[in-house]
Amino acid sequence: MSILVDRNSRVVVQGLTGKEGTFHARTCMEYGTQIVAGVTPGKGGTSHSLDGSNHPPVPVFNTVADAVRATGANVSVIFVPPPFAADAIMEAVDAALALVVCISEGIPTLDMVRAWRYLQEKKTTRLIGPNCPGIISPGKCKVGIMPGHIHKEGNVGVVSRSGTLTYEAVDQLTRRGIGQSTCIGIGGDPIIGTTHLDAIRMFNQDPETQAIVMIGEIGGTAEEEAAAYVKEHVKKPVIGFVAGQTAPPGRRMGHAGAIIAGGKGTAAEKMKAMHDAGIFVVESPAEIGAMVEKTLRK
């Protein structure tokens, strides 16, 4: 099993006809994901060919609601430019999709505040991201921009705020022959739809996930909250790393959310909270795979 996405996921791509949308929709489709529809306002009724792929063109709709009605889509992935991305999220929520994955980077925070409130009011939709690589259940379904080939089907759940650092961790696992149930990049923004805690709760309930890798970074308190949950509820081994141990305070380290502000959100604090919760914390990012292997052998 896996969480959130699998072979039954039917994906609508918001922003399909753009360069990014086209490129990544194709890689997802080649991975085996059912890309059933695209949404580009004004291009409804047309169909869009994903260059270089042998698959039939994807039907395009003006609204997400139209796409859902016509194709039975249940997952959306968003590639629209940041000024319009919060609106795209709300449109997908309004169409009551079960899962919305927002890849777009650079959404204004106050736009996300509104989108977040809208999500909570509707209660129908889980959001992953924004500013994230997406989600993949190896061997089944890829909804995102991660390189599919480094993954392997298996039993380790991976949740991370980062993109390429997640690939690094996954690569370490796959090279050791350790597969993944689902890998979720939750995104590097201050306000995100799915937190470490949410992902860990789902992995904990997934019978096929045997161990969980949690990769955090400086800023905020999401890692501490997840650690508190792990301490209370999680019996599966959790392996953790926090990026930014050498980051200076007050500087935004690339991700909008990766900033040590007012003395809070340091890597040291997070690692301590995780360690105290019984999480196997590694200091070096090169040790993630080895630590997972060790805990699984026990």
């Binding site: 106050l110 996300m112 921009i145 650092l165 590097g188 970074e217 380290m253």
Partner: protein
Amino acid sequence: MKIHEYQAKEILAKYQVKIPRGRPAMTSEEARKIAVELGGPVVVKAQIHAGGRGKGGGVKLARTPEEAGRLAGQMLGMKLVTHQTGPEGRIVQRLLVEEALHIKKEYYLGIVIDRAAGKPVFMASAAGGMEIEEVAAKSPELILKEWIDPGTGFQAYQARKLAFGLELAPELVNKAVQFMTALYQAFQSSDGSLAEINPFLLTEEGDFYALDAKINFDDNALFRHKEFAALRDLNEEDPLEVDASKYNLNYIKLDGNVGCMVNGAGLAMATMDIIKYAGGMPANFLDVGGGASAEQVKNAFRILMSDKNVKAVLINIFGGILRCDTLATGVVEAAKELALSIPIVVRMEGTNVDRGRQILKESGLNFTVGLNMKDAAEKVVALASHAVPEAKVQ
């Protein structure tokens, strides 16, 4: 994005937040003239993008215009060191000269985004004028909080709760409510990531003022506030960081001697961490982003190398969208153009990695290959520490 106090106050004034009368000055003569205009005692305040200016000697009272001119002369060009500037300090190039007020009591007001709650939070405290981080750490109960629902905005009752919570006299509450409401308007309309009034001043005459003001803008929202571009003060930024921002590169200068170039913010931080773990110190944070071109990679390299402390470089790329061959092409071009003499360790993985390795090999340049992150970090740290004595000989 950060701006100066006087710029923040100009924005606040547009939203009817009450600020002391005053103007910015670039010369001592200007400062003197402003003091003449204002009449009476004035305060001369150094304008740098860092707090703690008072303690560092960057805020002074002048009783006469002549004194204002003299103090301004001393302050302009001086190196101001505060707990927020680091030991290198900042050179003072702009001043704010404003009327001195009769202080009765100092409070604190601030608005930030509460990440866990997913909405802005309005904070108020009677412990104003101090480091609010210190108050928050030692006595968090002294900070009152009202969370703002984005659907309805900041309501008058919330401002009243804060005002009564500050134990203001009943006749002052409405004035404080007006002030807070105006502050929220300014924060919301300018896409702030932080707005802080510390101190939020009550005068002997019973009026409230923003005696100091800080506004940070959300970088992601700058596209809809084109007018803010003019507020950027490049003197307050590291020249290398300014250069990097022109090419959409995320570069932050640090103190070590191992330069690093990475794709992705998380992996870039993790690379810095593993350099330290291997016994070295990173010279920078540099994220070339997900879809960097060979041109961007070249510029990234140039910027990285213009930091003279750099003794060796680690390139750590996990190719996803950024393909390893693109990266390798950029690196080779840059290395040739810049006639690089320092050791470079390259660790590549992911999309088109074989092609990338081939390009590096065929370049005829001397790259050290890192087999994985650990191996790469150990190699680059060893190379950087060996490079130090050589540099001294030269």
